[in-house]
């Protein structure tokens, strides 16, 4: 049995899902964090069912890609029962989707979530009355504290055992209903059965018009013709596009229902959220607070990360030495074991110490509700590179690790925005790239040049962004973003979210790191480094003016960015790198290794989010950018 949670973005579906499914879904205090349906088996009172957490969408009539995909999932594999999760504090708006769900013909019940938030806003809902009007069970919950969750799923199981057959239909105005019933009469029953939806729903979709449905009916010219005529008639009599006519009708029905079942006691005093937002989203104080937040954020990430990294790395070093003593010297096995330890050390010792505090702080900012406010503040700046405010989220994440940054690209609506974001986010120095900058430029040339690298980086991001803006000018329709109320973060759900993200990183990145690390050891064992260096020499030595020995380190940098520098000492045969490389060479090498092809873990994730072709495009583009930048620096700083 499949039970699906459906609802508008930010209504608490994922929090609810996590309550029962054992923390598998990602939730945050900003809309649309779930982008692919997450499924989990759930056992309750001796019964088991499959629970699906659907991505949030505002309307079944939506034209946005993510939402369309959700609706498709529906028709592909219909769930047995829907739980329509509603943000009780935004009941009026949420009921529009509920009314659309009544037309689907799938049994459902309503979960009135965020009852605490509704109370704070002075919205009092008579859930029994709502249940009577909708003819389905309504259960009130506060998923964040777990209140009412068990009752909800008991009610859901009860519905699956004794399905409720709704009798009534929420009728729109007479002339719209006239058009719907006339069009319904034109729909052959075989066609309705084939699409799996009722004739009424099909008529509504054809009137909207739902282009995807129309594309599926090429052999029904008479029906499409009738739909076009009725649509034209509606548009003429209402003086508005037919999609606006239908959504306004649903809106009126929803508001009517809302007034029936809810009372709003508005207080004149501003709420905590309203008072805070005066400051947080203020044109001048807002950016100042944002800057301060980011400074504290990154100081903490690097401070804690450094504190954890040192003991972990020395532990792995001892493990490596122990294994080296245990295994025959220069044997194949010793080489494989060395690679394995290197791989583990990279994943656990070098990346995790920074990722852990980063995820904790990020989860804190998310759960409090600061992220959408950052998006509001950054919207106009990001418009200059053809993106909108929401894109700030992957960028901020990118300073920690590009992998979660790429994951968050799903927040952006259009594939064009995801591609642009996917390229730009790979130009942001992640913690590993920061390691290279600090260990080479910072250590040998001083903190000034290292900071210069960051200034240069912003210039590169803006330049490439502007360039992409001209190359791919498809204007984004702009940002529409719900700004949720501030919430006190709950420790348990916060830690669970951190764990979920770390787990996702481990699952995708660690196997690649370990296998790659072993492959690298084998290259060394079979003494192939020289061969690779010679093959790369025209590029490394002739073009960039670097020692040919760095060739192999660029290959290992593909695996993990900071591995390039870890290997550099070995490749050059000295830890005093400044004795064999000039300042210019250090800068050129750093620039190239920071910008060229993202690491394998990032590529794997990027492929999942934006597709293979686009990922190859990003890899090529970053290599070109890295080469141009390295060459430019070489020319400016002298041979």
């Amino acid at each position: 049995m499949r039970i699906a949670l459906v609802g508008q973005p930010n209504c608490g579906k994922s929090t609810l899902f996590n309550r029962v499914a054992g923390y598998k879904s990602l939730s945050a205090n900003y809309p649309s964090t779930t982008c692919e349906p997450t499924t989990s088996p759930v056992a309750l009172d001796g019964q088991t069912f499959e629970l699906v957490d659907m991505p949030g969408f505002y309307s079944l009539a939506s034209t946005e890609p993510d939402e369309v995909c959700t609706i498709k999932n529906f028709s592909d594999r219909k769930p047995d029962l829907l739980i329509n999760v509603i943000d009780a504090s935004a009941l009026g708006r949420s009921l529009e989707l509920t009314l659309e769900i009544t037309e689907l013909g799938i049994p459902f019940l309503v979960c009135l979530n965020m009852m605490d938030e509704a109370q704070r806003k002075g919205v009092v809902i008579d859930s029994a009355h709502l249940a009577r009007d909708l003819e389905v069970p309504v259960v009130a919950t506060t998923a964040s504290s777990g209140k009412g969750v068990a009752e909800l799923f008991r009610a859901a199981l009860a519905v699956t055992q004794a399905p409720v057959h709704r009798q009534g239909t929420f009728f729109m105005s007479a002339d719209v209903e006239g058009a719907i019933s006339e069009l319904s009469s034109h729909i052959p029953s075989a066609v309705a059965a084939q699409t799996g939806i009722s004739a009424r729903l099909m008529a509504i979709r054809l009137l909207e018009p739902d282009d995807e449905l129309i594309a599926r009916l090429p052999d029904q010219p008479a029906l499409l013709d009738a739909a076009a005529q009725l649509r034209q008639h509606l548009e003429q009599t209402h003086g508005r596009p037919s999609d606006v006519v239908l959504s306004s009708e649903r809106h009126a029905l929803a508001l009517n229902l809302f007034e029936h079942v809810a009372k709003v006691r508005r207080s004149s005093a501003p709420t905590v959220t309203q008072s805070l937002d005066r400051f947080v989203m203020h044109p001048y104080w807002g950016p100042a607070l944002l800057l301060l937040t980011l400074i504290v954020f990154f100081s903490l990430v690097f401070g804690v990360g450094h504190l954890l990294e040192t003991p972990l790395l020395s532990g792995f070093e001892r493990l490596g030495q122990y294994l080296a003593r245990l295994l025959p010297r220069h044997s194949l096995w010793a080489s494989i074991a060395g690679g394995l330890v290197q791989g583990l050390a990279g994943g656990i010792g070098m990346v995790l110490p920074y990722l852990l505090p980063f995820f904790v702080l990020l989860a804190l900012l998310e759960d409090v509700g600061y992220i959408p406010r950052i998006a509001v503040l950054m919207d106009s700046a990001l418009h200059r590179i053809g993106l909108h405010g929401k894109a700030i989220i992957p960028f901020v994440l990118g300073y920690g690790c590009t992998v979660p940054a790429v994951m968050s690209l799903r927040l952006l609506e259009s594939s064009r925005d995801r591609l642009v974001g996917g390229l730009l986010v790979n130009l942001i120095p992640c913690a590993a790239r920061t390691t290279i900058i600090f260990a080479l430029v910072g250590f040998y040339l001083g903190p000034g040049p290292a900071l210069g690298f960051y200034a240069l980086n912003l210039l590169v991001v803006v330049t490439v962004g502007r360039l992409l803006f001209h190359l791919l000018p498809e204007a984004t329709p702009g940002m529409v973003l719900e700004v949720p109320s501030y919430k006190a973060p709950a420790l348990k759900s916060l830690l669970n979210k951190v764990w979920y993200r770390i787990k996702e990183f481990i699952v995708i990145a660690w196997p690649i790191l370990i296998v790659g690390s072993i492959a690298l050891s084998l290259l060394e064992y079979f003494d192939l480094a020289g061969l690779i260096n010679r093959a790369l020499a025209p590029f490394t030595r002739t073009l960039l003016g670097l020692p040919a020995e760095v060739g192999i380190t660029l290959i290992s940098g593909l695996l993990r960015k900071e591995l390039a520098i870890a290997m550099l000492g070995q490749a050059l045969g000295t830890t005093q790198i400044d004795t064999v490389m000039s300042s210019t060479q250090l800068v050129v090498y750093t620039a190239f290794s920071v910008y060229y092809v993202p690491c394998l873990a990032t590529l794997a994730m990027l492929q999942k989010v934006i597709g293979l072709r686009q990922t190859i495009g990003v890899a090529l583009a970053t290599t070109v950018i890295a080469t141009l930048l390295a060459l430019g620096l070489r020319l400016i700083l002298g041979w």
Binding site: Y58, T63, R240, V244, H251, V376, G389, P477, G478, P484
Partner: protein, 85 residues
């Protein structure tokens, strides 16, 4: 007469200032803009209050049906409104 009065007070959401209240008259723009705005609960006849006006080309933040929503400037210019006060 009525149409004349409308023409005098109707403007777009984009240029409202903080604290102003207005009624939505019409949502212009293409299908995708209309669908996104109606999804967020913006329909002709609805009442809105401006939480934060658009500055430096940034989005305008409004309150509608008890929900706070940020709307990019381009989209906000597609929403025709009548100022109440």
């Amino acid at each position: 007469m009525v149409t004349e009065k409308k023409a005098m007070t109707s403007t777009t959401l984009e240029i409202l200032t903080q604290g102003q209240q207005a009624t939505i008259l019409e949502i212009r723009g293409g299908r995708s803009i209309r669908s996104r705005l109606s999804g967020q609960g913006l329909h002709p006849g609805d009442h809105i209050r401006v939480v934060q006006s658009s500055h430096l080309g940034g989005p305008i933040v409004i309150e509608i049906h008890d929900v706070t929503t940020a709307i990019g400037r381009g989209m906000a210019s597609a929403v025709e409104v009548e100022v109440i006060r």
